[in-house]
Symmetry: C2
Subunit: 194 residues, 2 copies
Amino acid sequence: MAVKDKGTEQLIKDTAKRIFFSEGKLHATTQDIADAAGVNRTLLNYYFRSRDILFEQVATEARQEMSAVLDPVFQAELEFKDKLEKLITVFMDQATKFPFREMYVVTEHNRTSRVIPEEKKTMIKKFLKEISAEMEKGKIRKMDPKQFCINLFALMAYPLITTCLNKSLYSVNDAEYLKLMKDRKKLIFEMIYQ
Amino acid sequence: MAVKDKGTEQLIKDTAKRIFFSEGKLHATTQDIADAAGVNRTLLNYYFRSRDILFEQVATEARQEMSAVLDPVFQAELEFKDKLEKLITVFMDQATKFPFREMYVVTEHNRTSRVIPEEKKTMIKKFLKEISAEMEKGKIRKMDPKQFCINLFALMAYPLITTCLNKSLYSVNDAEYLKLMKDRKKLIFEMIYQ
DNA sequence: TTGTTGTTTGACAAAAATGTTAAACATAAT
DNA sequence: ATTATGTTTAACATTTTTGTCAAACAACAA
């Protein structure tokens, strides 16, 4: 029997997150999740009433977990350089564990066109200002600061979403690809800063 | 009634591609597709026998269309600089029309771990060699050429997948985002070359 | 006209996925 | 031992999605 330390409810959520965010099986059924968790499917209904509620809760927690990790970095009182390094480290560690979590949020956003809270937008605007300031200092190539942000997240997120495909395309094994991803932290920083 | 010039069979495939690759509705049912095409759902079975066959055919054609557009550029006898510019133009035009086509191929690849044909790998190896040569010439920052490739596709593909989310996050409208994407062609080139 | 072919439709059947219920079970408190 | 509480299970019901089929239809040839 699987580990049920934190209780069945938590086990079910953790399993759903693993299937969605780590394995990228976006079409998983409740039966798939129950099987992977080693529990009776009925328990998903017992704890979450319905599939939709479970999925919504998982999506909500995904957003919260991302915010909990990223927001403190965005808002930290750090030199921009240090903030950027921190951001890259933190984001890529997360994206290594849960490469499809952002993709899940994106497709959910497409489906529901959920509203982004104002404070989040404000936070981003402040970050964009910091980027602009850094451009003035000549530390970053001049461009629309939004482009800088878009570049940053593209460079971090995309290679982990396409891990499986890339390993095939470039004929590298798991260890080699992991090494590539590890090296990227420094590489991305050097690419966009100074 | 919708345009059925190219015949119902083609209309169904085109509609499926639009829903999957342009709108990013990866969970679409046969009924969704039939409705969007304005035809009776039974016709999907009449022309394609089953949902799986239709979806597989759509995936196969997606790969073929991407190859048909990209391979000639990869294999063209051009200065690396020109090849790179061409690649960016061609890829981003495609990705603008079908932002989720690559994502579809990726998730399909995850599901089926389909084998990449040897000639494709060979083509990529040759491209990686060209990248190495360009690094020797000092035209590209030195790094593992695979990283260069990964960077390139990340910068091109990701912003279009996350269009909807980004428009919300950065508070820009459709026209402004389109402009950003248009400007990216030049921006990406300048970022990774010279 | 009649027959032939391919296409389209609605009614129905089957399969897949989700939801509900009552009963079994475990555990601890009384 | 009994009751109470929360958890788990199997059997069943419902809903959703997919597949089949016979009949209707259209266009055209004999």
